[in-house]
Amino acid sequence: MSESTFMGVERDRIDWSPRIDFSKCNDCMDCVKFCPHQVFEVNENEKPKLKVKNPNNCVVFCRACSKTCGPDAITFPDKPETTKMIKAIRKAEKEAASDE
């Protein structure tokens, strides 16, 4: 298992990362200060300043940054759907492996 897997599934096959509603974001950057995984990037000269630069660095099922967000501008994909998808990929891989 390499560091780019989650539950044995390649990380880039799992769609899990913060979605930012820029109509609510107030540029406080609390999420950037909070996240230890360099998911976000700040570009002072761009608008919006905040960018989700490394979505696959985001820990699957972690929603901690959204809990630091005062204006509630961060959302995440649906958890049960994501779990279902991970299970489906694992099952397909297992079957593929036993067919070989």
């Binding site: 929603r63 901690a64 005062g70 779990t83």
Partner: protein, 282 residues
């Protein structure tokens, strides 16, 4: 200890959520044995409130996720006995608050809901059915000045650093040593409601330090049957004994055999954690 309840509300006077927290606090203060704490004065001069805080327990009303009131209590190292977040409750009620102060029926209803939530605590729960093993064996590794412990037997883990231990059809759940060290002093444990049915990886409450809020990602599916009410008065147990006395919640399992496929055993988690600690600068 007397039963004085000290209410510390958010002070966002210019925003809707802040205004609601102020109104809830004022309503609560109409009851006997409730004292209001002004966050601005508390910040300026804590000694002004030392006496009532020593004699009573602290209830915090946060307006939004900036959690100014909680953070203030945290920075002054005052343990929080109970708390509520206006924006989160509004969201759960499908009420969009917006920024401007409002005074309409929807807001009145929300205030009622908040007041009810503040007064309903200690729901009926069954005593723990979990049979503890007499001793828990640990292995550990060090990284810099930190030492991380992981129990060797009868514990499973998810990759979100929550553990589960099984006794019959009861699962006991908590956070790993890594989480408690990362958060440092736990000030508040937000437990899920008894009877709540959850799927694997659903949110199972949260724990909070002055540094951050950590969402408990449930390692298993089931129904909440017991919460560790010792943590109400002693959330530091999560720091002192994350795998034993600081357990958080017990669930009645619904499908452990399937859940187990997505969990790590001791060896796998130990390796996972070593790698993770090496990669992140704790």
């Amino acid at each position: 200890m007397s039963n004085t309840i000290c209410v510390l509300p958010c002070n966002g006077l210019d925003k809707c959520a802040g205004d609601i927290s102020r109104r809830v606090a004022l309503k609560l203060s109409e009851s006997e044995g409730v004292e209001l704490i002004c966050p601005v004065l508390l910040n300026q001069n804590k000694t002004r409130y030392d006496k009532i805080l020593d004699d009573g327990s602290l209830s915090v009303i946060d307006g939004c996720n900036t959690r100014c009131a909680s953070k203030l209590a945290g920075s002054l190292e005052i343990a929080i006995k109970e708390k509520i977040n206006v924006s989160e409750v509004a969201k759960a009620q499908n009420i969009k608050l917006g920024a401007a102060i409002r005074d309409d029926e929807e807001i009145e209803d929300l205030i009622q809901v908040l007041l009810e939530k503040m007064s309903i605590s200690g729901e009926k729960q069954t005593d723990s059915q979990f049979i503890e093993t007499e001793t828990v064996d640990y292995d550990s590794f060090s990284h810099g000045k930190f030492i991380f412990k992981v129990p060797k037997n009868n514990y499973f883990f998810n990759e979100n650093d929550c553990w589960v231990s099984i006794s019959g059809d009861i699962a006991r759940i908590g956070v790993t040593d890594y989480v408690q060290q990362n958060l440092s002093d736990i000030l508040y444990v937000d437990s899920p409601e008894i009877g709540l049915e959850i799927e694997q990886f659903d949110e199972l409450g949260s724990i909070e330090s002055s540094k951050a809020v950590f969402e408990i990602v449930s390692p298993v599916s089931g129904t909440v049957v017991t919460v560790n009410d010792k943590l109400d008065d002693a959330p530091e147990l999560v720091n002192e004994s994350p795998y034993e006395k600081g357990w958080l919640v017990e669930l009645k399992l619904s499908n452990f055999e399937e859940d187990k496929e997505l969990l790590l055993d001791f060896e796998a988690y130990f390796e996972f954690l070593k790698r993770k600690v090496a990669e992140t600068n704790v």
